[in-house]
C-alpha cells in the first residue's frame, strides 16, 4: 500500500503546485489580456468609424452594439461585432455603419483562424478597404476578377471561401442590424 500512497501523493503534490502557479500567472496576465482585447475592439471601432471620440456599449440580444459619438457628441454611426464561419474557423469582424444605416463606413477583421498567408489575407488593409463606402441597402457580392458594378468585392486569389464567408457574414449582420434598429429606432 505504501507504493500506492507514494503515487497519489506525488501526483497530488504536482497538481496542487501547478494549480497554484497557474492561478497566479493567470491573475497577473488577465489584465493585460483584457486590455489587449479591449484595445483590439477600440482600434477596430476607431478605424471603422473615423472621427469617433468615444463610444457607448449597448446590449443587442446576445451581441453588443457600440453607439459612436464624435467630439460634438453627435451620433456618428453604429459599430458592431459580427461572427460567422470561415474556411476553417470562426471569423470575427467589426462593421461600421453610418448613423442613417445607409452606408458601410468600414470593416476590420479582429479574429480568424484562416490559413496563414492565404485566407488570413482577409484581415489585410487592401481587402477591407474595398468595403468602405459601399451602400448598406443592397446585398454585397463577390467577384473573382475586377469588380465593375457598385456593390462588388474582389475575392482574394486562392482564398475564395474565406472571402465569400466574410461577405456573407457582413450581409447577414447588416440585415440584422437594420431589422433591429428599425424595430426600436430611438
Amino acid at each position: 500500500m505504501r507504493k500506492g500512497l507514494k503515487i497519489t501523493l506525488t501526483l497530488t503534490l504536482i497538481a496542487v503546485l501547478s494549480g497554484a502557479i497557474l492561478a497566479e500567472v493567470y491573475k497577473v496576465t488577465i489584465e493585460d489580456i483584457k486590455v489587449n482585447q479591449k484595445k483590439e475592439i477600440e482600434k477596430a471601432i476607431f478605424s471603422v468609424l473615423p472621427g469617433t471620440k468615444e463610444y457607448k456599449k449597448e446590449a443587442r440580444g446576445t451581441r453588443e452594439l457600440f453607439k459612436c459619438f464624435d467630439d460634438k457628441a453627435e451620433l456618428r454611426g453604429i459599430a458592431f461585432v459580427a461572427e460567422g464561419i470561415g474556411y476553417q474557423d470562426i471569423i470575427k469582424v467589426v462593421v461600421g455603419v453610418d448613423s442613417g444605416l445607409s452606408k458601410i463606413t468600414g470593416i476590420r477583421v479582429i479574429a480568424h483562424n484562416e490559413t496563414p498567408g492565404l485566407g488570413a489575407k482577409i484581415s489585410e488593409g487592401w481587402f477591407e478597404e474595398q468595403f468602405k463606402g459601399l451602400s448598406a441597402a443592397i446585398k454585397l457580392d463577390l467577384v473573382k476578377g475586377k469588380p465593375d458594378k457598385e456593390n462588388q468585392i474582389q475575392a482574394i486569389t486562392g482564398a475564395t471561401i474565406s472571402s465569400q464567408a466574410l461577405v456573407d457574414i457582413i450581409n447577414k449582420e447588416v440585415k440584422d442590424i437594420k431589422k433591429y434598429e428599425a424595430g426600436n429606432c430611438d
Partner: protein
C-alpha cells in the same frame, strides 16, 4: 438536427481531415504507415480513443471548468484526466478481456502523445459544440485519421518496389506522398461549410 450531424461528420472526415489539413498525428502517420494491417488497427484504435475523449472533454469543460470559472486550467485538466483515464481503461481491458486487449487495447496508451486527440478535445470546446455533436466530431475526426493513414499505408506498400532516391528513403518520400494526398484533399475544401 440529424442533417447537421451528418454534415459535421462528413466535414470532419473529408474536409477538415486531421492529418492532411491540420497536420495532426504526423508521428504515427510517418511511423505506422508501412503495412496496411497495423495502419488500419491503429486508425480504428485512435477513433475509439477519440470517441471516448470527446464526451469526457465536453463534460470536464462544462461541469468543472465553466462552473468554477477556471479557464486557465483547461489544458492541464484535459491532458491529465484523459491520459490517466485511458491508462486505467487499458489496464482493465488487459486484465479482464485479454482477447479484446490483443485486438484493440494495445493501442489505448496511444493517447498520451497524440496531437490529434488533444487538438480535437480543445477544438470542440473552443467551438462550443453540444455533447452529441462533440461525439460525432470526435468519431469523424478519428475516421479521417484512419482514412489518411490507410491510403498512405497502401501507397507505401507499393513504394517498396520502386526505386526511391536514397536520400528520400523512408520519411522523405512519405512526406512527399502526403503532400500530394493533401493536394487532393484541398480539392474537397469547399465541400461543406459547417462550424
Amino acid at each position: 438536427m440529424i442533417r447537421e450531424l451528418v454534415l459535421v461528420f462528413v466535414a470532419a472526415v473529408l474536409v477538415n481531415n486531421f492529418v492532411l489539413k491540420y497536420f495532426l498525428g504526423i508521428c504515427p502517420f510517418l511511423g505506422v504507415s508501412d503495412n496496411l494491417h497495423s495502419a488500419v488497427s491503429m486508425g480504428f484504435a485512435t477513433t475509439f480513443v477519440m470517441s471516448i475523449t470527446a464526451p469526457v472533454a465536453w463534460c470536464i469543460k462544462h461541469f468543472v471548468l465553466d462552473k468554477l470559472g477556471l479557464p486557465f486550467l483547461e489544458y492541464v485538466c484535459f491532458i491529465i484526466v484523459i491520459a490517466s483515464l485511458v491508462q486505467f481503461v487499458e489496464m482493465v481491458i488487459k486484465k479482464f478481456y485479454p482477447a479484446l486487449h490483443q485486438a484493440m487495447g494495445i493501442y489505448l496508451p496511444l493517447i498520451t502523445t497524440n496531437c490529434a486527440i488533444l487538438f480535437m478535445a480543445l477544438q470542440l470546446v473552443l467551438r462550443e459544440y453540444s455533447l452529441l455533436r462533440s461525439i460525432v466530431f470526435g468519431f469523424g475526426s478519428g475516421l479521417g485519421f484512419t482514412l489518411a493513414i490507410t491510403i498512405m499505408a497502401g501507397i507505401r506498400e507499393e513504394i517498396e518496389f520502386c526505386d526511391v532516391p536514397r536520400c528520400l528513403k523512408g520519411p522523405g518520400i512519405t512526406l512527399i506522398i502526403a503532400g500530394l494526398l493533401a493536394l487532393i484533399f484541398v480539392g474537397l475544401g469547399g465541400l461543406i461549410k459547417v462550424n
